[in-house]
């Protein structure tokens, strides 16, 4: 198999940051200047990428946010490694690297992180990661990485595409088919078979899994929504369900008859054939008719009548249209994308603006790009919208992956991408250890519930669903390891480890206020409060400036205190 690690050469734009620090710092640490163009660039990159790097800040500062978004639409797509398809049961001869690469998610997860750290198509990746937490598949029921790879590629390639097309492609994707059991979902025919009669009492019934979750999670949700994302209410003030159990059963019948495409040849040296998790599922045809498909009439959303006797593909297209063009989709998907990128508690007006873009571009081949662009250029994402006096609930808790990648990208880290699961020096602090096991969510409900609240507060904070005493300290321990030490190389599975070079920062530590202000610009887009700055200054100046080796301790102390702070863990 081929693996490709982006070659990486650290490029420091410290001078740029330094100039910011000089501009912004006065005799004392000053209050944040969130509306300044440079600060907003950094904040934009927190929302649109896996973290602002010094080089990317400089670039976007130069070209501007809108031009950067244009660039991102055209940027070549990063790939996952081209994994060979292996038999479901591992041949005894496949051990060591062969087993690691073909029967674990090691290479996929590693490339997820190297792509996030070094890929140029940052926005595409960030959106794909959000989509992957809405239209979920998981290693839980997809054991081979080659089977998952195609699904993740689909999310990459669809991240800027059309939502209806994405829903159709996801529906026929064999990995989704396996994960939610549309694969091999079948009606049970009487004997002798009758083309139009399918269900047969006590013998097995159509599988309801995909039908339920495509409605509940991938498209419309459980309640009728207003375009601003709030629930419609009936005369008694109660929310109104979008569908009932009967509708689920009807869609379950639509989604019958699909099987894996023709088997693929086995890997070189092994031979035989292996299940086809590369191509879309296909209709099963036997005896001249689609014998697994339930051809009876069905009633879909909004009372739409699907007449009996249509072909399986015809029915699927009509059913996907019935779902994808339901008015609930625009607010349901738009609000979640806002929550993944910008803020957990968007205003109804923000959701309305984005849902409108979603709906009016429903036939656009770049619908999702248009939506994401609107999300990021909205007045609620840019500019002055972060005043805690008027917007106390603004922002989102960084999820573990972003907590990791933001810190590493800020300091242009050198990394092999082995960051999902880490156990170093008796401590565990990978993403999975912080409850975000990449591509291995516990279920189709992903890592955290959208209803999770901020502890002790009456505000939504979905990512707080996986922020606990345990995972909070593991975030801090990751920061400790990277800032004060390194994640050492440990071949073969950790070929180079992960490290950051702080030498360029040492000279700045002679002037702690400038040091802190430069870090404020880089890590907190200039939003550090004076009180926070003072606290960090106290810790930094407790370390004497000499001998020269102390300068590094000052740098590390300042970075550690910011990176472990709630102010940094919350993207705001």
């Amino acid at each position: 198999m081929k693996t490709k690690l982006s070659s990486y050469r650290p490029v420091f734009f410290l001078s740029f940051l330094l100039s910011l620090a000089f501009i912004c710092s006065t005799a004392r640490l000053i209050e944040a200047q969130p509306s300044s163009a440079s600060a907003d660039t950094v904040r934009f990159l927190e929302q649109a990428t896996f973290g602002p790097s010094q080089s990317l800040i400089a670039h976007v500062q130069q070209v501007g946010i809108e031009a950067y978004l244009d660039e991102q639409l055209r940027a070549p797509m990063t790939d996952y490694p081209d994994l060979e398809f292996w038999p479901q049961t591992r041949p005894a001869s496949c051990t060591g690297d062969c087993q690691r690469d073909n029967y674990t998610y090691y290479q996929l997860q590693r490339h997820f992180f190297t792509n996030a750290l070094y890929g140029q198509d940052q926005l595409r990746q960030r959106v794909a990661f959000a989509l992957g937490q809405i239209l979920v598949t998981s290693q839980v029921d997809v054991p081979l990485p080659s089977w998952m790879r195609g699904y993740q590629q689909l999310l990459y390639s669809s991240a800027f595409g059309n939502f209806r097309q994405l829903l159709y492609d996801v529906t026929l994707n064999p990995t989704m088919g396996r994960f939610l059991d549309m694969l091999n979902n079948r009606c049970q025919r009487r004997t002798p078979p009758d083309v139009n009669v399918c269900r047969n009492g006590l013998t097995a019934q159509p599988n309801e899994n995909y039908a339920r979750e495509i409605l509940q999670l991938f498209s419309i949700g459980t309640f009728l929504l207003n375009q601003d994302g709030t629930r419609q209410l009936d005369g008694n003030g109660n929310p109104i369900p979008t569908y009932d159990q009967k509708i689920v059963e009807e869609f379950a019948r639509v989604f019958t008859g699909w099987i894996l495409a023709t088997a693929l040849p086995g890997p070189s040296g092994i031979g035989g054939t292996v299940p086809n998790y590369r191509d879309p599922m296909r209709m099963r045809v036997s005896g001249g008719f689609e014998d697994y498909h339930d051809k009876g009439p069905k009633t879909l959303l909004n009372g739409f009548e699907l007449p009996g006797g249509q072909s399986q593909t015809q029915e699927l297209n009509v059913a996907i249209d019935n779902i994808a063009f339901n008015p609930n989709v625009a607010p349901f998907i738009s609000k979640q994308l806002i929550q993944h990128l910008v803020t957990s508690n968007p205003s109804p007006a923000y959701v309305t603006r984005i849902a409108s873009v979603f709906a009016s571009n429903s036939n656009s081949p770049t619908q999702l790009y248009d939506v994401v662009r609107a999300i990021l250029l909205d007045t609620e994402a840019r500019g002055d919208f972060i005043d805690p006096a008027t917007q106390p609930n603004y922002g989102k808790l960084r999820e573990p992956v972003q907590s990791i990648t933001n810190l590493l990208r800020a300091f242009e880290a050198t990394s092999d991408g082995v960051l999902n699961s880490l156990n170093v020096g008796g401590s565990v602090f990978g993403s999975a250890d912080m409850s975000q096991d990449v591509f291995n969510a516990p279920s189709v409900f992903s890592f955290y519930p959208p209803t999770a609240r901020v502890p002790g507060e009456n505000a939504l904070g979905p990512q707080f669903g996986i922020f606990s005493s345990l995972t909070s300290l593991r975030r801090a321990n990751f920061a400790n390891r990277v800032i004060f030490l390194t994640i050492p190389a440990a071949p073969p599975n950790r070929p180079i480890g992960t490290s950051i070079d702080l030498a360029p920062w040492d000279p700045l530590a002679n002037n702690p206020e400038q040091l802190i202000e430069a870090l404020n610009q880089l890590l907190l887009h200039g939003a550090m409060s004076a009180e926070m700055g003072q606290s960090i200054l106290t810790a930094v100046t407790s370390i004497p400036a000499s001998p020269a080796s102390n300068l590094r301790s000052r740098v590390r102390t300042a970075i550690y205190l910011i990176a472990t702070s709630s102010q940094y863990q919350v993207q705001r």
Binding site: Q205, P455, S469, R481, T538, V570
Partner: protein, 472 residues
């Protein structure tokens, strides 16, 4: 006198500084709690929806079961069932799934009971009322996320910001003479564990040592004089005008305080753990047993624990094949559950607290009585749950009599307990026992008084019995 948990929380809601000092008066110095006055509840959540239809199976009336499940290949053979003997309340014999050897053993000892046909309800409901829409039914029936929320909050007719484990902890926290949280989770912070006052402490499962089950790296021990540690704590107090920052600070602040508490516990051994081979649920229960073993040092008189196991959403491949129905995904999961629960019970015997610890299961829902075409089952409603412990009046079924006059539902698709109608009905039993009743029985046992019960289970008044009688 030690700082109480309530004082600690009040401090930490406002200013962390004082709260951070609480651990000074905490822990090993605190021997006020008496082991004689100790009770703990242990919740095991089976994520995905456990198929009750294949865990407790009619032995005497096996043909009814066989007719429903054999055509789809899911029937567990009668000869492989672990026989219960005649269940007194039913007057008929049942059999446990053959994987449940540990629970069957404890059933025989009278330490395990089955609570039948439990589920979320807004008000008492039967088939006619359900089909004619003359009762309110739980929000979004048959959806994982909604039913999980309802199981964990006991509120089925709307959103709830807290769970009944957390609210029970709110009421029993004052039994403890310590700042250590009354509710500890080995599986994150699901809403079950969140109270109106209390917040859960999440720690790592075994084999992580108990004294490292929460740890912060990179500081001297003790860290009090390290300026970086001091300022790290001070930063938890600033920028309190930002809601999410404040919330994150709460979690981290408590983590830092309790990290120091746990660091002093050592790593007690609790035979018969570890299980061989180690299992996910076994590791969680082993760590719970360790925490229980240091209850006196921690100053605990009342504790609630949460752990969970996923994988029960068996839409396909629930059994290996029609010719091997006692193996496969569900059999493996049940084996893990049964072995871990048995080992945990045995550990509580060793610790001398078997009658002071009650373990119980919850799950999203049960699964369709009529399987689908993929050797699997889909989402249903009422389910059977296991309760285990020395105070359990075991060897018996509990519940509320339904359509057939017993606590066990009528196993008939399109029958008197099914939500579904017609020849393609799947068999989704309408619960006869509300979660509220199941939970209230457990909460009363650990010490929630009658006057507080409605605060923990706001809808308990809608249901006849608030105590199902399965605990002494």
């Amino acid at each position: 006198m030690a700082t109480t948990r309530r004082e600690f929380l009040c401090q930490s809601l406002g200013a962390f500084g004082a709260a951070m000092l609480a651990f000074e008066r905490f822990g090993l110095l605190n021997a006020l709690a008496q082991s004689a006055d100790y009770k703990a509840l242990v919740c095991i959540f089976l994520n995905g929806g456990n198929d009750s239809g294949n865990i407790v199976i009619p032995y005497d009336d096996y043909s009814t079961y066989e007719a429903a499940r054999n055509p789809s290949g899911l029937a567990i053979p009668q000869s492989s069932l672990l026989r219960t003997g005649v269940v007194p309340r039913i007057g008929a014999e049942f059999g446990f799934h053959p994987s449940l050897t540990g629970l069957h053993n404890l059933w025989g000892q009278g330490k395990v009971a089955v609570v039948c046909n439990v589920g979320p309800l807004v008000e008492p409901t039967n088939r006619d009322a359900y089909r004619n829409r003359i009762v309110r039914v739980p929000v979004n029936l048959f959806s994982h996320s909604d039913q999980i929320n309802q199981w964990q909050t006991s509120v089925s007719d709307g959103a709830s910001p807290s769970g009944w484990g957390g609210r029970t902890a709110d009421k029993i926290g004052d039994f403890n003479t310590t700042v250590f949280p009354p509710i500890t989770s080995l599986a994150g912070t699901p809403i079950f564990t969140i109270g109106n006052i209390e917040r859960p402490l999440a720690i790592a499962a075994a084999p992580t040592r108990l004294d490292a089950a929460l740890r912060i790296d990179g500081f001297p021990n003790p860290p009090d004089n390290d300026p970086r540690y001091v300022e790290m704590q001070r930063l938890l107090l600033v920028d309190q005008d930002k809601t999410l920052v404040r919330g994150a600070g709460r979690v981290t602040g408590e983590a830092l305080a309790m990290e120091r508490a746990l660091r002093s516990t050592g790593d007690p051994a609790v035979p018969p753990f570890p299980l061989t081979p180690r299992t996910n649920l076994g590791n969680q229960l082993e760590q719970i047993a360790k925490v229980i073993s240091v209850r006196n040092e921690l100053g605990m008189s009342r504790q609630i624990f949460f752990c969970s196991l996923g994988g029960f959403d068996t839409h396909s491949g629930q059994v290996t094949s029609a010719t091997s129905p006692t193996t496969g995904t569900h059999a493996d999961l049940l084996l893990q559950v049964s072995n871990a629960m048995k080992a945990f019970y045995d550990a509580t015997v060793q610790l001398g607290v078997a009658s002071q610890v009650t373990t119980f299961t919850l799950s999203d829902f049960s699964r369709t009585w009529v399987p689908n075409g993929n050797l699997g089952t889909d989402h249903a409603w009422g389910s059977h749950q296991f309760v285990m412990g020395g105070s359990v009046l075991g060897g018996e079924f509990y519940g509320v009599p339904g359509s057939n006059g017993t606590v066990f539902p009528t196993l008939a698709a399109n029958g008197p307990d099914d939500t579904d109608e017609g020849s393609n009905a799947r068999g989704r039993w309408i619960p006869t026992v509300a979660i509220d009743q199941y939970g209230a029985t457990l909460a009363s046992w650990i010490g929630v008084g009658n006057t507080d019960l409605a605060a923990v289970f706001p809808n308990i008044g809608r249901f006849g019995q608030s105590n199902l009688g399965f605990l002494a």
